[in-house]
């Protein structure tokens, strides 16, 4: 059987990285096994309160992805399970998985939570950073997927003492099974992705900060739980020693990061930002808090981070550049006494709560698993080793990696890498795409036109979630009295699998043509019920939900009568609307299985090759005559690779690949269509030939460029260069190194300014790289780097350390007094204010090298043509900062590379692969469904007034030749703005027609 490949991938680790990989793979046509060692997926992100820099609620944005993952027919969740080993070869592995006994049957449990309530045994909750409690039988957090508890054998009274079994007695579903045993599974997969995540640094190892001894010293992750509304203090900021409100809170950065003495010579990349976020959120809770962050460098290097940092400073959060030497507890008050050095002086201060910004590191289990799998680790920190130009591949072929296990990173970069890993992992088995998928079975759709509404109402108890407050039987009886209702019943759990079967049976037996479920939120559950309707041939839009849990029982606990009355009102409104529901048509459009990539630099070429390896055709359009973009001017990397050799080979692969059509000298001149069916015109020089390209997806990789400064005598004095020019001159041997005695590099030229208020991310590493190169070529050369904050994040920190060891002199300047450069004949004088010495430092330099900003390449016209959004700085704007980092908000268009924001080459490669993965989820489908909740025009009524044309946020409506407005259902997003503005009421938003909204009002006010 050798050579047979398997169209399935195992993703190990169910945090946001693993979840994203799993979803992208499954949507692209591969079967996924998602293995997670804890009882539920969600990982660290589930524990966070808010996320930087948008302050989005972490759980709110994560939860829909978890639900999607849990429901996906092609994702098999193996929670509470671990990968034991991997045999076989790439394309055909046999994975051994140990599934721990939960002692709760997943197929029966409805997640009602009764067992947790009644279980008598308590212990500290890992999820709440041990600040809160959980039971012996527990679901780690309320939104956990799967919502099936486990019994913690270590503390369960029955397992310890042989009696109790309370959970078994109270379980209404009979799902408790004490006889369950661990199970060993053997699973065949074509590739494996390791998304093993991290654990936080054990702060006890920094004994001088007192963590573990002093109650009011907490880690940053514990503080997330303190902030969280679902956390141990219900979102009130209290300190653990006395549950009092602290007034003065300090964060100590770099606890367990950038510390070679602890074997952690890397930067954890996220701590500066999360500390700023925690301080901002804490201040939102209580504006009178005094908040101080003790830092080393503030590393606000990602997209939107610098602005976030600035806003924190403006809000009055205090930043102290200093390493705290120790923390002492004051025995009586339990306050904390901090000693630190600032500007050469020893200072002391009291705080009521100290938060240690702990670093990230792979866990011991992760390292053990890596060893078992034969995956090599970095000597620095034990992160997974990956080749620079292949950042998603481990040292074992067929095993890929993403997320923090590959190196410290934040959520968007994890998501990016997770998508990217799904692309590279599936590339090797792309011939097997679709071979292992579940087919969903639907009955042909029943025509209900002309039928009178026959409504069935299903009222949910939701265990006790609803029933404890609302009189569910009374609501059910009331529903029976409503017009058009021919069936009403109540269910313990309307969402349970067996209830779905029951609903189907009732629909068929009673001939229902509309279904109302009175239960929880349509946001999470509507898809499930619509699916159920489709399975018996009812149009999915003949469904309506009344939310009598989130909007009723949960929020009116103290007023049972009022809640029951309201539940009746909500059901009456839902029934009134249901009677007016219409089956909505969805049109199927074929997908053009071809990609267009605009931009032939590293990002564009990587994307083009990625698509080709997935088996899709690609047009690669480049404005210039040659491929390569900025990479043509990069000659070395920090880790010692040869970019020019890599580039040459890559261009060769791109230009000779049969699936890739390279079109150089080409400008995009027009663009139209919808996802799956785009058409883009290009004008090709020098003949100016016009060519129309038809494609299903678009990737914009239009790149960036180095800022050519006006500052510091650039362009006036020959000895003032940019970093890129320096690199080019060294590489070409145009620099007489023997003649040079002193080189001064100035950081943040054109970045972090008022005009360009962002950090260009890469300049610190580039300066370190070129400084090290100069030192290698001329060890006696004196090199100064004048900086504001050195932002060598992640594993790059090692090179900053190395540069200092090699004698490169780093001097901090403050933005209020930036360096000055004066010409003195051939030489240059650099004056810089040294804030610690409180004096000017004057350096005579033979060469001044400016680390200038990275700008997006001119993309305004292109952005307008593709109707995509940009940031104020002109970078492309993603659909969601955190969880959709390569998608535009317009469907079918993706971004990667410098056009998104400044980044290093390996990051560009990851992002380009991520764009491939996201686009492949669309290209993998033969057709897409459009329509449903879209606006529809009644041509007879239309006055062709253009108001809809002007009101649509997406520019969809147009007035056709026959003089009325046309709205393409494939393009319409269903917001209904046009319908609200139409002066003739000629436009109705399907499923939310005026008549329906008014019917709800009438049902509410007029009763039956």
């Amino acid at each position: 059987m050798t050579g047979r490949k398997i169209g399935a991938v195992m993703v190990v680790g169910g945090g946001i990285g693993g979840v994203q990989s799993a979803l992208d793979l499954a949507e692209a046509g591969y079967k996924v096994y998602l293995v997670e060692s804890s009882p539920s997926i969600g990982g660290r992100m589930a524990q966070l309160d808010k996320t930087f820099p948008t302050n989005d609620c972490s759980m709110c944005i994560l939860s829909p992805k978890l639900v999607e993952c849990g429901r996906h027919p092609d994702i098999e969740l193996l929670t509470y399970s671990e990968l034991l080993g991997l045999e076989g070869e790439p394309g055909n592995f046999r994975a051994k998985v140990l599934k721990h006994a939960r002692y709760v049957r997943e197929d029966i449990c409805t997640g009602c939570g009764t067992c947790q309530q009644k279980c008598p045994r308590r212990t500290a909750s890992e999820f709440d950073g041990e600040l809160g409690e959980r039971k012996a039988i527990y679901v780690p957090y309320p939104q956990a997927i799967p919502n099936v508890p486990v019994i913690d054998k270590q503390i369960c009274t029955y397992f310890l003492k042989g009696k109790c079994r309370v959970c078994e007695k109270v379980c209404p579903a009979g799902a408790i099974d004490f006889e369950q045993e661990d199970e060993e599974l053997e699973i065949e997969v074509g590739a494996v992705i390791l998304a093993l995540g991290y654990e936080t640094f054990d702060a006890r190892l920094r004994g001088e900060y007192g963590y573990g001894r002093y109650k009011n010293v907490v880690t940053s992750l514990e503080f997330e739980r303190i902030l969280s509304a679902s956390g141990p203090y219900r979102g009130e900021i209290l300190r653990p020693s006395d549950n009092e409100h602290p007034r003065r809170i300090a964060w100590i950065q770099c606890t367990g990061s950038r510390d070679t003495s602890l074997g952690r010579g890397y930067c954890s990349s996220v701590c500066c930002m999360y500390a700023i976020k925690e301080a901002i959120i804490a201040q939102e809770h209580d504006p009178n808090l005094e908040l101080t962050i003790f830092y080393n460098d503030i590393r606000a290097f990602g997209k939107g981070f610098e602005g976030y940092y600035e806003s924190a400073k403006k809000a009055g959060i205090r930043f102290v550049k200093s390493i705290v030497s120790d923390v002492k507890e004051l025995p009586r008050t339990k306050d904390l006494f901090i000693r630190y050095v600032e500007d050469g002086e020893v200072k002391e201060e009291n705080f009521e709560l100290v938060v240690l910004s702990v670093g990230l590191e792979p866990s011991e289990q992760t390292k053990l698993l890596a060893k078992k799998l034969g995956v090599e680790l970095e000597p620095c920190g034990g992160f997974c080793s990956t080749p620079f130009f292949n950042p998603l591949s481990t040292t074992r072929e067929g095993v890929y990696v993403c997320g923090v296990f590959q190196g410290p990173k934040d959520i968007p970069e994890t998501v990016m890498q997770a998508s990217a890993a799904s692309a590279v992992a599936s590339a090797t088995i792309s011939a097997e795409r679709g071979t292992m998928l579940q087919q969903r079975q639907y009955l042909p759709e029943k025509q209900i036109k002309g039928e009178k509404p026959k409504i069935g109402v299903f009222v949910c108890h939701c265990g006790i979630n609803i029933a404890a407050v609302v009189d569910v039987e009374a609501v059910r009886d009331y529903a029976r009295t409503l017009p058009h209702v021919v069936w009403a019943e109540d269910n313990l759990f309307t969402c349970a699998q067996d209830t779905q079967e029951r609903i189907k049976k009732v629909i068929q037996e009673e001939g229902l043509n509309r279904v109302v479920v009175a239960a929880c939120s349509p946001r999470t559950h509507e898809p499930l019920f619509r699916q159920t309707l489709m399975e018996v041939g009812l149009n999915p839009y003949l469904f309506e939900m009344a939310n009598i849990r989130d909007q009723c029982s949960w929020v009116h606990m103290k007023d049972k009568e009022g809640a029951t009355q309201k539940a009746k009102d909500l059901v009456r409104m839902a029934v009134a609307n249901a009677a007016l529901l219409e089956p909505l048509e969805r049109e199927r459009l074929p997908v053009r299985k071809r990609a267009l990539v605009v931009g032939g630099g590293l990002a564009g070429m990587t994307a083009a090759l990625g698509f080709a390896e997935q088996g899709f055709e690609v047009f690669l359009v480049e404005r210039e005559a040659e491929l390569g973009g900025n990479m043509r001017h990069i000659y070395w990397t920090l880790s010692g690779e040869d970019p020019q050799a890599f580039l040459e080979e890559m261009i060769e692969r791109v230009t000779t690949h049969p699936a890739i059509q390279v079109i150089t000298n080409a400008e995009v001149v027009d663009h139209e269509g919808v996802q799956g069916n785009f058409s883009t015109g290009v004008m090709i020089a020098p003949t100016m030939t016009y060519r129309k390209l038809e494609h299903g997806v678009t990737v914009l990789a239009t790149g960036g460029e180095e800022y050519k400064p006006k500052e510091y005598l650039y362009g006036e004095h020959p000895a003032v260069l940019t970093q890129m020019e320096l690199e080019e001159r060294i590489a070409r041997g145009e620099l007489d190194l023997g003649e040079l005695r002193r080189v001064v590099m100035i950081q943040c030229v054109g970045s972090r300014t008022e005009q360009r208020p962002y950090c260009s991310r890469i300049c610190c590493s580039v300066a370190v790289k070129n400084a090290l190169k100069l030192k290698e070529l001329a060890p006696d050369l004196e090199i100064h780097v004048l900086f504001r904050d050195i932002r060598t994040y992640g594993l790059l920190e090692q090179y900053y350390t190395k540069a200092r060891e090699r004698g490169v002199i780093f001097t901090r300047y403050i933005p209020e007094r930036p360096p000055e450069v004066e010409a003195e004949g051939n030489r240059l004088l650099v004056k810089v204010w040294e804030n610690t010495l409180k004096d000017d430092l004057i350096l005579e330099a033979d060469l001044v090298v400016l680390s200038t900003a990275t700008l997006p390449r001119e993309n305004e016209e292109l952005a307008a043509m593709f109707k995509v959004q940009r940031t104020l700085e002109g970078f492309y704007l993603e659909a969601h900062m955190k969880l959709r980092p390569v998608d535009f908000s317009s469907d079918g268009i993706y971004m990667c590379g410098l056009a998104h924001s400044p980044k290093l080459m390996d990051e560009t490669i990851s992002q380009a692969q991520a764009a491939v993965a996201r686009a492949s989820t669309l290209l993998a489908k033969d057709e897409i469904e459009v329509g449903g909740v879209v606006a529809r025009v009644e041509p007879e009524l239309c006055a062709a007034c253009l108001i809809c044309v002007r009101a649509c946020p997406y520019g969809v409506p147009y007035i056709c030749e026959d003089g009325y407005s046309v709205i393409d259902p494939a393009k319409c997003r269903g917001c209904g703005n046009c319908a609200a503005e139409c002066p003739q009421k000629a436009i109705q938003l399907q499923h939310y027609r005026d008549e329906q909204l008014v019917a709800k009002v009438l049902a509410l006010t007029r009763g039956i």
């Binding site: 979102g235 929020v555 309201k566 946020p953 703005n977 909204l997 009002v1001």
Partner: protein
Amino acid sequence: MDYPPNVKLIRVPCSGRVDSVHLIKAFEEGMDGVYVAGCLEGECHFLTGNLRAKKRVEYVKGVLTTLGINPERLRMYNLSAAMGSRFVEIAREMTEMIRSLGPSPVKTGAGREFPQEQEEGEEQ
């Protein structure tokens, strides 16, 4: 996390779907108060729908004033899906405000809530 049960929600895909006709209809039907809850400004899921909704709310407030109905009975709020406690706060705030104003004159038929001359926003 508790608010009075007199608040009932009508779901729309975007606050920009809410039409001035829907708002006035609600008052015609005797609602004591109506509020439109949209995304935070600048964070509209559909780019600008919440800003359009805000303008329509302002317009209808003006009409209510001329009809003798206290315009405070209609409000626009902006909040994100993550702001549960803010939602509760709004529900309470709105309820308390309506309680202090009493039932809508549409239901009582008691004439204008405030004299013709009185300027908008001067109630209480």
